[in-house]
Symmetry: none
DNA sequence: CCATATTTCGCCACAATTCCCCACTTTCTA
DNA sequence: TAGAAAGTGGGGAATTGTGGCGAAATATGG
């Protein structure tokens, strides 16, 4: 499954967000929410999450660092599933991390989704586009 | 499939554009719309898009740039399919990017299509032709 | 251990949008 | 000139966003 596009939703008073319908089938079996490095929430489908977890645990790191890495990765993550209407409830800690209040942007990013505060998304989008075009042009040079 | 030629269409009140009949077979399985670097919309057949996505995600870039590249590439793209009449619906954000209102130019560009505002197309075409002739002449010099 | 209060979760309902199908008119072709 | 194909427009059904109600689960205090 490839995740595309940009969608805007409101959060209802109970903190639930609709998932874009076209993604629901791919996420029926569950998803994992984790804080992004930027101010956003990342939503992985279950299989993508497993892949990611594998690469983390098999990476070339010392055991003590691995334990810390595990903690940081798994303690902050949430296993979530869609409700009957195709919505998910956002954990408060993640909402705070992404500074999401009552409007969300859901953006596809190839093999995962990102959830953003609308304002932050707009500025991030501008930066991303600028960088991307530079990279693409440099790639096209050969 | 190689895309050739230049076609002009009207957009109906629901934002739908006909795809030139000769291209429909190649796009039956779906296409991806993305904003162009210039003020236009680019339409990739599904397999071409996959190739592009591969070169982007396996390219020689650092993780943080890779995330941004993912964002810019996938969030701005839309997965679309033809309706029974061989038309597609243009997402509003892309229409705004290309400043397309009610007339479209669809131009073949080798392995993808470009959708243009008619006025912008005319001026871009003039520039492109001028540059193309210069390039061709420089090629012929050896 | 029970009862009350509070939160969480699933379900329903309405309004709006989207999607799909049908029809007409024009153009191209044989 | 007749038939087929394609451009254009419109209507109806299905889907979806969003708010709200009520039941189940959890927590708290007696």
């Amino acid at each position: 499954m490839m995740f595309f596009g940009e969608f805007e939703y409101k959060i209802d008073e109970k903190g639930r967000v609709p998932i874009p319908p076209r993604f629901r089938k791919a996420l029926r079996e569950g998803l994992v929410l984790a804080p992004g490095i930027e101010k956003c929430i990342i939503a992985y489908p279950l299989d993508e999450w497993k892949k990611l977890a594998d690469t983390l645990t098999t990476g070339p790191v010392t055991p003590s660092k691995l334990r810390r890495l595990n903690r940081a990765t798994f303690a902050a993550a949430f296993s979530i599933s869609l409700d009957g209407q195709g919505r998910i409830a956002l954990p408060i800690s993640l909402k705070q991390h992404a500074e999401i209040v009552d409007e969300v942007i859901i953006a596809g990013a190839n093999n995962y989704l990102e959830l953003w505060n609308k304002v932050h998304w707009e500025s991030e989008k501008a930066i991303s586009q600028e960088q991307a075009w530079q990279i693409i042009e440099s790639l096209e040079r050969h």
